[in-house]
Symmetry: C2
DNA sequence: GTCTCCGTGTTCAATGTTGAACACTGGCCC
DNA sequence: GGGCCAGTGTTCAACATTGAACACGGAGAC
């Protein structure tokens, strides 16, 4: 998980449950449906809390609870202001173009053969359907989940549907022979001001240097 | 960017342009429309390449190019197999539920007041529209971008549209008084087997301990 | 010639993330 | 009581990421 996301999540969760210790946060984060999307490791929680405390966003209390020492955290006024700022940023910035593995995969598609691309896209389609089906079957036994999180599930459904339709047309294009994939002539040339062109000459030189210097 | 994504991107880009040095990769990655979603810092490129070389996925050639020393990379058979594996994973695994900042924001919505939530969602809507408008205006002067990347842009458009519709209904729900936000009675209680309940008693004890031990 | 500036190519210390592993408690069974 | 196991609470070394900063060469201005 990215640094800012972790900060936001930890700060917010502490505010929801304070005073609270690291293990409780971990348990809670695992139990929310959050488990699926917020991949938070124990290590991140403890070091994140330590950082937030060092910055004055949280107060750390080392309590003696029975026979044990526990580190318990509460939020500070500074931390609550910081939370509002982070929250606003997270909500206001659209994350349409966030770097998803799939985008990277698409960009590198020409390195794979047509049959491999076709197969992988089909598998993605199947997995997508499986995920949305699980979502439906699994999460609807509601009462287990607060309403604002249920609303998120609707978004995921819609996104799944949209991607599904797009994927189907993409597979059709692949079948039809679109795109220059591996072992086929390229279907596209970069414009002359593209750095790809500058690269071509260096590349040739490097090939020769490697051959000579071996 | 996540570790696996960086590996995939570097490995693939090296395969596209090999033999190639770190700076060329950086230039290329910045130039692709990739600039928007693949936030790759110079540091990540060089250390990523070093790691891949150490693992035997790339070969590093220290060439003397004129008066300069350059580190130039080529892919190995092992690296090409690794690429195929990573590529398949990236494409086949749906990333519907990847942890986006917005999801975290939604989950923590009850910590914000109704007016703050309303404002932030409106801003998101405006930013979303701005992004898709830019996309349309900016990217369509095509010929600048290979077809398989243009296809990705279609996906983004669709996603943007889907999210837009969902956001509009969400704002309507917020206006209508749905959800228990800050300063309002909660609209939901966790079921009794939820760890949230276990937490309540610890919490009370912690409050007292803090008061006493200060 | 030398000054300045930009492009090229890379390093590095600070910071963050990962997840396995540790240490302790209490409950249960025999 | 002793052995075992599950739950609680945390640490830590290995690894990855960040981005500012360094080093160098060539091209143009004067």
């Amino acid at each position: 998980m990215a640094a800012t996301e972790t900060r936001l999540l930890l700060l917010g969760t502490v505010m929801l449950f304070e005073p609270v210790n690291g293990y409780q946060l971990r348990r809670e984060l695992l139990s929310w449906q959050v488990e699926d999307w917020a991949h938070v490791n124990p290590g991140s929680i403890y070091s994140g809390l330590a950082t937030l405390a060092k910055q004055g966003n949280l107060d750390r209390h080392d309590l003696v609870d029975g026979s044990r020492e526990v580190a318990v955290y509460t939020s500070t006024p500074l931390g609550r202001r910081e939370f509002e700022k982070l929250w606003r940023e997270a909500v206001e910035r659209p994350d349409l173009l966030s770097p998803l593995p799939f985008h990277t995969g698409m960009a590198l598609m020409p390195l794979m053969s047509r049959t491999a691309v076709r197969e992988a896209l089909q598998t993605r389609l199947a997995n997508l359907d499986a995920t949305t089906r699980d979502q439906l079957a699994h999460e609807v036994p509601a009462g287990a989940v607060p309403p604002h999180v249920l609303a998120l599930a609707d978004l995921w459904m819609g996104m799944g549907q949209t991607e599904r339709e797009w994927l189907v047309t993409l597979v059709a294009r692949v079948d039809r022979g679109d795109f220059g994939l591996r072992g086929e002539p390229a279907d596209w040339q970069a414009p002359a001001d593209d750095p790809g062109w500058q690269m071509a000459t260096d590349r040739q030189r490097y090939v020769e240097l490697i051959a000579r210097q071996r």
